[in-house]
Subunit: 400 residues, 2 copies
């Protein structure tokens, strides 16, 4: 039995008319040997609207109750999708996350999936029924409803694909696939036909919002190919799968950028053993995620440490650093930086790639503040106002 | 531990401001020895809006999926109420019907509660936590979500009151209590301070929409007093409880009316044994509820049978009767009738009550088409256009 898991986001389900059209297309397609599992998000901006209600009532709504509220969004979607599919003659049945045995940790609003049971879905698939599952949600050990955080429906879809040993995960969005660069900045950007898991993971981490990094990580770990396509489009989309590295040579896939970054520099950090780990332990304790880190040793008995964080975490980061009371250290926050990254298997094979990227930026007068590299990625931190320029320059240099 | 179950309807929860004000009042009150369980309905017209969505997508949405959709309405309410109570300093926790073990039959959109577990609620009450439960919903044996039909939140509240051995069920509405007559028809109508279960049951059955008859039935069966009050009002409301009959004498409580009634007459029914049961079995099989039945024996070998049904059932009733192919019988439907009922313990003790009621109607030129009586009720079927006249006439005669 070939199982395909399809994931539909809120923009594909923002009106009853869209749900109806989508159901019609799915009902028509459902004829071959493949069995379908649909994972759906809440309609349009429902999640934001529900959150707004919670915050209108209270500045600090209890997270357990926020989850109780938010999970209704996807429940509405699965019911409406089942109703629409039935009208178009398809045999379909809907389930909440809890009903299909998606068990999670108890971290409300950002729970992690602990286990998924295929037992509740397989009998329906065997009877050729389309199974519709609410994304983004699960049930904790204490039976309370949980949500998986932003992009959580991708995680649900991937977890189900793994549990059902699916042939493929198809993610439907309002975009044609994964682009070589953001088309709003670089209108000539193209859809990338194929990507390796590692490349997609780097793209997700560095700013491509099309797939949640955790979903890509699971796809890689369990070898589930992902096809990213436009909901009602004609294009063939982007296929993310395992690739033999020696077959591909010097390939540059695309440019990503993230303009919601801030740079923190701590000057004159006392040069005592363990001071860096003290800093980053303190940030981890406060659940502040740190991305790039650069430490510069000076001749003196102090160091400068720079790192990037999400812009929203600037306040809590500065607070955390001040709480450490490092003697003589000065904390400086620059919230107006951005990260531009070049991703592709070619980066580790061709050493000239990095220097070509730095040259492209320098030629436009863009100063590089920090650099980080991996096997398949080079990231540069630059001033936020220069992001557009930087993306266009790199695209031009590498023909993206 | 004295447990009070409070039930709040959609009109008390139609806006975030109303939820906030209600939560503030409840949080203030929650100080004494009593422990609170709140049962809430969906906000305002949410249920109707959700139903409309389902019917926009499909003329016949599958009932299992309609339940999946509708249950989100109450889930939103419990979450918002918990968030609002927390803001006002109360310790509160919300639960769906399924989470507190409300098990029902599998009749989607009109399920019956089969069992309720107090185990999941009691530990929270012992810790002085306010427990908020979603009304109208439960879980069937196959783990699917179910709803209890219109007014189902009353049933949820009553089932919980019984399971928790509650001291009292308090039903909060936008009315001051149970009135002697509908104030829209008879502006001088008063709130009735006390009613017996049997009287309230008759009032609910005959048109007082303030309490679901099944909820009153359970209250009577298990001896749970019900207090009907206005949500944010000052009045003391109506208390429904067991009453010693000899203490009360010749009491007339109020007039109810139901203008959504239709009368069906089958003329020339063959006078063969069991023909009446054949008719009503056929209707029961199609889930058509029959209210008053009058059978008139004629001199000939045929009978006439008249009965009342809900107006919405006229089409399916005529269809059912025609399907029986009763030789020579003629079916006549009159959808423009109404039922006016007088309720009170006095009816069985004072024989003159019935004749006084008939006289009141006759004096206004109102023709009585059918009559049905019980220990505490007299119902008359009249022409729908005369309802207002009839209610006012009866009120005047009995000083209501």
């Amino acid at each position: 039995m070939d199982v395909i898991v399809q994931k539909y986001g809120g923009s594909s389900l923002s009106t009853l008319a869209k749900i109806d059209a989508l159901a019609e297309a799915i009902a028509k397609r459902e004829a071959g040997a493949e069995r379908l599992v649909l994972v759906v998000s809440a309609m349009g901006n429902t999640t934001d609207e529900l959150l707004k209600m919670a915050h209108t009532l209270s500045p600090r709504p209890p997270e357990r109750e926020v989850d109780m509220l938010l999970t209704t969004g996807e429940q509405v979607s699965i019911a409406l999708m089942a109703i629409a599919l039935a009208k178009h003659g398809a045999d379909a049945i809907s389930f909440t996350g809890g009903q299909v045995g998606i068990r999670t940790s108890e971290h409300h609003t950002k729970a992690r999936i602990e286990s998924v049971s295929a037992d509740r879905i397989l009998p329906h698939l065997q009877e050729r029924r389309i199974v519709i599952v609410a994304g983004f949600q699960g049930v904790a050990e204490d039976d309370s409803l949980t949500t998986l955080g932003r992009g959580g429906s991708d995680i649900t879809a991937m977890a189900l694909a793994v549990a059902l040993k699916a042939k493929r995960l198809e993610k439907y969005t309002d975009r044609e696939g994964v682009y070589t660069a953001d088309p709003r900045i670089h209108p000539q950007a193209r859809t990338i036909p194929r990507l390796s898991y590692q490349e997609m993971l780097e793209m997700s981490h560095t700013g491509a919002k099309i797939l949640h990094p955790r979903a890509v990580f699971f796809a890689w770990k369990f070898g589930v190919p992902i096809l990213v396509r436009e909901s009602m489009g004609e294009g063939s989309g982007t296929l993310i799968e395992e690739m033999e590295e020696n077959v591909e040579q010097a390939i540059i896939r695309g440019v990503t950028h993230d303009a919601s970054v801030a740079k923190i520099t701590v000057y004159d950090v006392p040069d005592v053993p363990g001071i860096a780990s003290t800093i980053f332990e303190e940030l981890a304790k406060r659940e502040i995620g740190v991305d790039m880190i650069v430490q510069s040793n000076t001749e003196e008995a102090t160091n400068d440490i720079s790192f990037t964080i999400k812009r929203a975490d600037v306040g809590s980061t500065v607070e955390a650093l001040n709480a450490l009371q490092m003697k003589g250290a000065k904390v400086h926050a620059d919230p107006e930086v951005a990260r531009v990254s070049l991703v592709g298997l070619g980066i580790k094979t061709e050493t000239a790639v990095a220097s070509k990227m730095f040259r492209a930026l320098a030629d436009r007068g863009i100063n590089i503040q920090m650099i980080a590299t991996s096997d398949v990625k080079i990231s540069c931190v630059i001033s936020e106002v220069q992001v557009k320029d930087a993306v266009q320059a790199v695209c031009k240099t590498f023909g993206l």
